[in-house]
Amino acid sequence: MKKITRYIKLYIHFVQNCITRELLFRTHFILSFSSRLLMFLLYIVFYQVIYRSAVAIGTLNYDQGLLYLSVFFLIDTIGFMFFIKNFSTFPEYISEGKLDIILTKPVDSQFFVSLRYFSLISLFSIFPPLVLFIRQLIILDIALTPINIVLFLIFMGTSLTIYYSFWFITNLILFWINRIDALHEFFVTLWRFMQFPPDIFQGVLRFFFVGIVPILFTVSVPTQAIQHLFDLKAISALIIASIFSLLISRILWKIGLRHYQSTG
């Protein structure tokens, strides 16, 4: 318990430092926020265009589709808020030896490199998908009960664990292949597939998103939970994938550190 409190305090320090820093650069802040907002609006337009020529994508009608999209963006934005700056800094840590000082600190190094930076811009970027999420709950007349709220939050946490773990694992390749710029983009590109409901993925793609990079149910399970729908197979797959992916990320981090060569 003492350890958890210590890490929470430490994280608050990280967040405070990052907020102070981001507020120093107002133009950057405004431009980045505008860019995230624009991307969100483009996706909605994109969905509208698709639904003009189809009644449903998979089993989702237009309003259910927008609910699904809002959950996708909630996970994406929360993930960005916690990890984007950290994972985009990864090449500097490994290729330029900036990991050196971190490895001398009496703090878990995986915690340090994963959560050192916090994106204030993403915190503000949560509001547009959150508004859409609430709007869709009202339109679809979904009753909010303590059970579906708690399950939704638990599954969001589970999905974010998978999201974090695989994004983190992707970056660990740098320990073995020293120079790949913007490696973190690779996971983000895969993740973007999840803006579409899982039903549309069949064959090799379905196998890939279930067996290799198990992110297929990361958006659908929380979206169904808030609608009082439970697919036990998908829930089991999500929970197992989150536990295993976190474990693998931990093991690979430890192995990666043994390969870390720093710089002269």
Binding site: R6, K9, L10, H13, F14, N17, T20, R21, L24, G97, K98, L99, D100, I101, L103, T104, K105, P106, V107, S109, L257, R258, Y260, Q261, S262, G264
Partner: protein, 329 residues
């Protein structure tokens, strides 16, 4: 006394891929790459006692920084034993990490866009420094390094010297027992170099901290370190006191004297090789063991206005050690 740092037959091997020259070579390497290995540290051994101030000297690529990184747990040794503060550094136990600090002249831990005080407060949380101790250490260190006025200034706006002072404060707030310093004065002007040296000297004396310092500036080593460890190509060449380095490797001294009257250079040559002559002032190289005898004869034969005996410059000696080794290799 049990050593605070002990390494035995320490080896570090790096792997890298051979790069063939030119564009064609780069394209070929996409399909086939030859993996090569280089030994940065080749089985060095030494022990350091608590409170020692040790200079770690060697040319670029000698293995100094690699050794420091193994001592601080950043790198895993390929083989050999390493023990620091009764811990295996590569296990990175928090109890160990709270007892040492590493300062690297070319890498920083301060948050670039924030005032240094924010990084200090973060370190307070990282090292779990009690409020009273943090305040005491911060007051003391910022007073000693004269940075009280710049604690609230963004790090990016500080001069290199001021930044290094802040880096030192950040590293020392948790009162480490062992301090690894890798080129802490690199790029600094003479005034800042002196300020850092004075501080380190006082810190070592007052706190009894064990310090290992690597530096390209022999002034740093000369003024701070009682003991010098010289390595080259990953091998230990010398481990002993700074003074003994002269005795062991320098068989000569320089005598500089000014005569009251003009004298022909030939009369001086009989005492030793003339290194320089300016008017009535001569500088000659004499055998170390004959210093007393020769200076006695000079004083006896000539009317001398002034006479000074110099040890050979340490830079020259070290350069000679490296050159001798290269020739032997």
């Amino acid at each position: 006394m049990k050593p605070i740092i002990s390494i035995k037959n320490l080896v570090k091997q790096y792997s890298y891929y051979k790069k063939q020259p030119g564009l064609l070579g780069s394209i070929k390497s996409l399909f086939h790459r030859e993996k090569l290995y280089v030994e940065a540290v080749k089985g060095i051994s030494f022990e350091i006692q608590p409170g020692e101030f040790v200079g770690f000297v060697g040319p670029n690529g000698a293995g100094k920084t690699t050794t420091l990184k193994m001592l601080s747990g950043i790198l895993y040794p390929t083989s050999g034993d390493v023990d620091v503060l009764n811990h295996k550094p590569f296990e990175r136990e928090p109890e160990f990490q709270k007892q040492f600090a590493l300062v690297m002249g070319q890498k920083n831990q301060l948050w670039w866009d924030l005032p240094a005080i924010e990084s200090f407060l973060l370190n307070k949380a990282i090292y779990e420094i009690p409020d009273a101790l943090f305040k005491k250490n911060l007051d003391e260190l910022s007073e000693l390094l004269d940075i009280k006025d710049i604690l609230d200034v963004q790090v990016r706006k500080l001069s290199l010297g001021q930044r290094m002072k802040c880096e030192l404060v950040a590293a020392l707030l948790h009162s480490p027992k062992v301090l690894f310093l890798d080129e802490p004065t690199i790029g600094l002007d003479v005034i800042s170099q002196n300020a850092i040296r004075e501080f380190l000297k006082a810190y070592n004396k007052e706190k009894g901290a064990t310090i290992i310092l690597t530096s390209h500036y022999m002034q740093d080593i000369r003024r701070l370190c009682d003991r010098v460890i010289i390595i080259d190509h990953g091998q230990l060449l010398y481990d002993g006191t700074y003074d003994a380095l002269h005795t062991q490797y320098s068989d000569s001294k320089t005598v500089e004297f000014t005569l009251a009257n003009r004298v022909d250079a030939k009369e001086i040559e009989v005492f030793g090789k003339i290194l320089s002559q300016k008017d009535r002032t001569f500088s000659i190289k004499i055998p170390r063991e004959k210093t007393a005898e020769i200076t006695g004869k000079i004083l006896e034969k000539f009317q001398v206005d002034d006479i000074v005996i110099h040890e050979r410059d340490i830079e020259e000696i070290i350069e000679e050690i490296f050159t001798d080794k290269k020739m032997r290799d």
